[in-house]
């Protein structure tokens, strides 16, 4: 049925969907089924990444109906890179979650609620994973709309899972924003269909012309995606949603979900003509995001809030480099994706580590976290490493990304862009130091409470942080994958 030569393109989508249904069917909290399918999905994704690296672009016609009539999947280097990124972060989060729900069991009444949470978590998370992979690999704009809805609805379900009023309100706001974004996207798809007569993404992008309907279509699609990506000034819904969710969910939302819509935005905006004309718009918004997010992150009292506002700032970096793409020969694209991946790993690790602190201490007030290092050295180290990668210190993946940004920007004569990146790193350093200083503070804890956090949680956070560091060392591999166009 599956020969080594056949394409693995569909499996990163099918495997988690299958897993989600089976988890939903299970009467007990489906930890084993969930973990099994998480491993399966990661495996399929990594094989796909390797296939694309070895053989070039993969494509697959669903039901053997070719576009424009049918829907085809397509994996070029960028898509394969995103799927691989999702596999690594997703696997770490899954292993973390395996311990997370168990660690929170205390033997009292609340356990029921927690087991119910776990029961809902696995199917929602696997569906989200499948939908994200579907988003990265899809070659059809209407299909992308359905994937966007799947991603949004499962993210909202996951956000609301903690059941606390702030997270419920955040989930509601998230849902409304997502629906608005999806509908705007769908209206844009309508305009595209009217002018191009097809729903195939590649055909639409190659047929972009500056007529009012096409401009309107692109504006609607972009606005919808920016809203969902939470680029400044559309970021208002993000920090409460990310900070109040359960910790594995925060890592998923910040590390992965944001990247899905950002990636689509990139897909629509990769045309050189477009970037030359209005590429500065996302860059300016990105600059605003870097400044505002960093300022807000610095002034937060809660660790998870700080990390969430840091996401607002880091989204800025994802957009600030759009003008660099105008030169196809440059390294703009590489820097771009390098940043996305290293942010996914680093931010995932930071949220996972913050989750262990929250679970152990019962709070995440930054000023009262001093001494946590003795209790959870592994998590503390993971948080610090993630922070280093965010700041862009060598040898982290963040360093490579920023190095590529700056050299490409200077090479193209865009000094202001290089300046933004360097200044932004300074701001990042400020708020990361504030958190890391508290966590690594040598102060002793008054009494040593019993350790409640499962070892698998601390180690999966560390593994993800180490991956962010490793990215800097194995740089040629992702860049080679990125080069598959």
């Amino acid at each position: 049925m599956i020969s080594p030569s056949s394409s693995w393109l569909i499996w990163p989508i099918i495997a988690p969907l299958m897993g989600a249904v089976l988890c939903f069917l299970s009467g007990k909290p489906p930890r084993r089924t969930g973990l099994f399918f998480a491993v399966l999905t990661s495996g399929a994704s990594l094989v796909l990444g390797w296939q694309v690296l070895a053989r070039g672009i993969e494509s697959y016609a669903m039901g053997a109906w070719r576009p424009p009539l049918g829907i085809s999947l397509r994996a070029d280097g960028a898509a394969a890179l995103m799927v691989t990124m999702t596999a690594v972060t997703g696997l770490a989060v899954s292993i973390y979650s395996g311990g997370y729900f168990q660690s929170r069991l205390t033997g009292d009444d609340r356990d029921r609620c927690r087991l119910a949470q776990e029961q809902s978590f696995w199917p929602l998370w696997l569906l989200l994973w499948g939908a994200l992979n579907g988003l990265f690999l899809s070659g059809d704009v209407f299909n992308i709309y359905i994937c966007l809805e799947l991603v949004a609805l499962s993210s909202v379900g996951l956000t609301a899972l903690s059941g606390k009023p702030p997270s419920l309100v955040a989930a509601m706001r998230y849902l409304l924003v997502s629906l608005l974004g999806s509908l705007s996207f769908l209206l844009g798809v309508g305009f595209f269909y009217k002018t191009c007569g097809t729903l195939e993404l590649a055909a639409i992008i190659s047929a972009l012309t500056p007529t009012p309907p096409v401009i309107m279509a692109l504006a609607l699609v972009s606005a919808g995606l920016l809203l969902k990506t939470a680029l400044f000034p559309f970021h208002f819904w993000l920090p409460p949603a990310h900070a109040n969710a359960l910790s594995p969910v925060s890592a998923i939302l910040s590390g992965l979900v944001i990247k899905g819509t950002w990636y689509l935005f990139y897909r629509f905006w990769q045309e050189e003509i477009l970037l030359a004309a209005v590429g500065a718009v996302p860059a300016i918004l990105g600059g605003g995001a870097i400044a505002w997010g960093a300022f807000q992150a610095f002034s937060q009292q809660r660790l998870k809030m700080l990390v969430a506002y840091s996401t607002v700032a880091q989204i800025g970096y994802l957009f600030v480099a759009f003008p660099l793409l105008a030169d196809p020969a440059g390294m703009g694209g590489g820097a771009f994706f390098y940043f996305a991946i290293s942010h996914s790993f680093a931010k995932g690790a930071m949220f996972l580590a913050a989750g262990t602190f929250l679970l152990q201490m019962g709070h995440d007030r930054i000023d009262d976290l001093a001494g946590v290092r003795q209790l959870m050295p592994v998590s503390s180290f993971a948080f610090a490493l993630g922070g280093l990668s965010l700041m862009g210190l060598p040898p982290s993946g963040g360093f490579i990304a920023k190095y590529l940004y700056v050299t490409t920007a200077i090479g193209q004569g865009r000094w202001w862009l290089a300046l933004i990146v360097v200044l932004g790193s300074g701001l990042t350093a400020a708020y990361v130091f504030r958190a890391v200083a508290a966590i690594l503070s040598p102060r002793l804890l008054a009494e040593r409470p019993q350790l409640m956090v499962a070892a698998s949680m601390q180690w999966s956070a560390l593994a993800l942080a180490l991956m962010a560091m490793l990215l800097g060392i194995i740089a040629p591999l992702p860049l080679a994958l990125m080069g598959v166009k």
């Binding site: 099918i14 249904v21 909290p29 669903m62 087991l115 029961q119 199917p123 929602l124 939908a131 359905i146």
Partner: protein
């Protein structure tokens, strides 16, 4: 009757709303201009659909698009419905939600005795008709879902006929069957979701049946909003055990 005019509504409370309104009007004008822009319409896919209809095994054009050409969309859509049920159920809590008493009534009960069999019949007809006329899995599922909602409205005793343990498998039947049949198509040497053998029409009808059943059940479960009693490990209390299988 109170006349609810523009000025008296609570939603435009004064002048600070005006700039937003003005911007929205401008936006509408831009949309209309883009829509009316002359000469910018491409021929759609209608001709292509017609050309490939014979190979698809279904007579109805919309059904052919839904279940054959763009079956992947439909597969994902079944998952959207299932996801909706998952989210609604994950939000349900045993406490507090009990305020919803059955709105029983003699009229509703007799209405239901008449309507529910009728709806099931209409649903089956739509499923069958879908292959060459209007109708199909979604419409049939919608009607079945409507029947389910009607039953739920007054916690009809008819609901007891439906086994409690069957609910979740019933919800999953459509997506699971869809996925498995599509993977099986690969085992026969085709692509994922490829039904182009002489039996295509048969497979599609079977798929439609399973999908319609699950869609109907999902829609009713969305309305019911409450997971069935699960086994130990979940341990949710069920304050009222006798009524409503999936309320």
């Amino acid at each position: 009757m109170t006349k609810v005019g523009k000025e008296r509504t609570p939603h435009n409370r004064g002048w600070q709303r005006l700039p937003i309104m003005a911007l929205l009007l401008l936006f509408l004008a831009a949309l209309a201009r883009a829509y009316l822009f002359p000469g910018a319409s491409a021929a759609g896919l209608a001709a292509r659909v017609d050309a490939s209809l014979a190979a698809g095994g279904v007579g109805s054009r919309v059904t052919a698009v839904l279940l054959n050409f763009r079956a992947y969309d439909t597969l994902l859509e079944c998952f959207v419905l299932l996801l909706g049920v998952m989210v609604v159920w994950s939000l349900w809590r045993p406490d507090g939600a009990e305020s919803r008493e059955p709105a029983a009534g003699a009229i509703l009960a007799s209405l239901e005795r008449l309507l529910v069999p009728l709806m099931i019949m209409v649903g089956s007809y739509l499923l069958w008709a879908g292959s060459d006329r209007a109708g199909g899995a979604f419409q049939a599922g919608a009607i079945l879902g409507g029947a389910g909602v009607l039953l739920l409205l007054d916690s009809s005793p008819l609901l007891k006929v439906f086994p409690k343990r069957g609910l979740v498998p019933g919800l999953c039947l459509g997506p699971l069957f869809f996925l498995s049949a599509s993977i099986a198509a690969m085992a026969w040497g085709g692509n994922f979701l490829e039904y182009r053998s002489p039996e295509a029409a048969l497979i599609i009808i079977a798929l439609e049946g399973a999908a319609a059943f699950s869609i109907g059940l999902c829609l009713a479960a969305l309305f019911g909003g409450r997971p069935p009693e699960r086994e130990a490990g979940d341990g949710r209390d069920r304050p009222s055990r006798d009524r409503g299988e999936f309320r």
